[in-house]
Symmetry: C2
Subunit: 329 residues, 2 copies
């Protein structure tokens, strides 16, 4: 079978690709696991690091162009992981770009599947950002979507469309709402939650992390490793177990900024955890503060989707997975 | 000031136009009521019956064409009532048409306002159809949207976009979720709730109404007269009282099919109420059955929005407003 990852050159996309190639197979129908014959990685920039694998097809293009999706999806494409997105901070700053990629491209992808008529599995990643405003103490999979950012709005719209396309039998869709992914390697990005990786990454690297939110702000967090496990497991879920509620809130760890720093101190020592500077950014604090700090994970766990045990574990996974050598002194 | 009604030749649109012309003014800002200098009625067919009023500008065109909206909205357009829509049954049967009018045109309208930059009041009508699935006993304004029809999905998406465009200051939007409007005069239409008007209209007219749903199915109902009152009051609401929750569920009357028939008997007698035939239609029963049968109206009433007292009152309003002479014998 063919599998497509949009955003396949990105952080999660490339990791997902490696995990799928390593497994070599995927279950997308009752018949059981089938070998992955082709893994298409579509992104604006070419995915690299897959040169040795004949199964990988690196594709580049603007995902909001119908021709690009027409070329990337055909009737043999049995599973699509739609990860391509403009991150929250950028979608707030560049409204048209966010609408184009987060909304229009998602719809085009669904439309391409409808035109083909073979009902592939489509996994959308969504976000804590679809929630906001006055929330119940325990946010559930079916808590009202009330986004307070353009990114969250665009994700919520894509979720609704995916559900309707699924109900009508155009796709077999599932939405996995991701906690904030931490720790992302590399440099800070334009996500409003970028600091949730920087708070670990920069101090371990001997640099100072700038934190734009208050110490008591709580965030809902998931390691990249667990996120990839959940994406694959979510794709393999039998369609019927999801029923009419296609979205699942993935399990996370709830931690305040202070608790994240305490975990960093526990794992890497006082000197590392001291490399922090607070510089308030009201815009970021307002948007991130509108996200739920945790949610009910009963349904996700009953579906076999698991998160991390603690933020300290998330830090240790980062050090292990990325081969980090903490700058201690 | 200029006011625009999309769907201005339609049932509610034409009534709203008459009500606005009769009032002659509208409050859309702190300065108080301003005279309506121009009332544009945009629809696919030309609105008729307004020939004598120099304030009325009849416009025809496809609302999903940007040029049509460009011509209909300028910086003097201070209020827009966006009523144009493909009804539920048709949006389910003609997927592309529903997406085009209910979603694309709504977005184009918002985009036109964003481009102009003058932040007009925009009143969207939405529907019970945005709800569905497992609902709480009391559906509130902020209960999760979970549409089980393409119409409901398209309305929910338009709601989300309106909220984000409002949050960003592109428009001053408000969504009024309408109960099923009853009694509509004329012929049955392609709405899945068409029978909720036919059940009164046809028997009063000496004809047999065909009911496609079970006797115990409950519906949430509002008279056209009250709906128009609510649309105008909703437009005049101060923006701040809505806060981040731009959608308001309008008050209605909850009645089962049997209770609707009992009210018809009360108002028009046994012979009229006997002109009913039950002919089950599973598709309609499933979609209408997914709509909430009533919802919490505390917020609407606190905002000064009022519904009808009973279904018998709704029937009497229909007889009075439309000058109906019941065919009794």
């Amino acid at each position: 079978m063919k599998v497509l990852i949009t955003g396949g050159a990105g952080f999660l996309g490339a990791r997902l690709a490696r995990a799928l190639l390593s497994r070599g197979e995927l279950t997308v129908a009752e018949g059981g696991a089938q070998p992955i014959d082709e893994l298409a990685l579509l992104d604006v920039a070419a995915a690299t690091g897959f040169e040795g694998d004949a199964r990988v097809k690196v594709m580049t293009g603007d995902i909001a162009q119908p021709a690009v999706l027409d070329a990337a999806i055909d009737r043999d494409t049995a599973a699509i992981f739609h990860l391509a997105a403009i991150v929250s901070g950028q979608a707030e700053a560049e409204f048209e770009l966010g609408m184009r990629i987060n909304l229009d491209a998602s719809r085009l992808l669904l439309e391409r599947c409808r035109a083909l008529g073979h009902r592939p599995r489509v996994v959308f990643t969504s976000s804590v950002a679809v929630y906001g405003g006055v929330m119940p103490e325990l946010v559930r999979d079916d808590t009202a979507l009330n986004p307070q950012s353009s990114y969250g709005t665009q994700k919520a719209v894509a979720e609704l469309l995916l559900s309707d396309y699924t109900r009508r039998g155009f796709v077999d869709g599932r939405v996995l709402r991701l906690p904030t992914i931490s720790v992302r390697p590399g440099r800070p990005n334009a996500a409003t939650t970028s600091f949730a990786s920087g708070i670990v990454r920069e101090p371990l690297n001997g640099e100072t992390a700038v934190i734009p939110v208050p110490r008591d702000l709580r965030i809902w967090l998931l390691s990249p490793r667990r996120a990839i496990d959940c994406l694959i497991a979510g794709c393999e879920l039998d369609s019927n177990v999801l029923g009419t509620q296609r979205a699942v809130n993935l399990p996370g760890v709830s931690a305040s900024v202070d608790e994240m720093l305490a975990a960093l101190r526990e794992v890497a020592g006082d000197a590392v955890a001291a490399r922090i500077e607070f510089r308030a950014d009201e815009r970021i604090a307002r948007i991130v503060g509108s996200f739920p700090a945790q949610w009910d994970t009963t349904r996700a766990r009953s579906l076999g989707l698991e998160g991390d045990a603690s933020f300290a574990e998330i830090i240790r996974r980062y050090i292990e997975d990325e081969g980090i050598r903490p700058v201690a002194g």
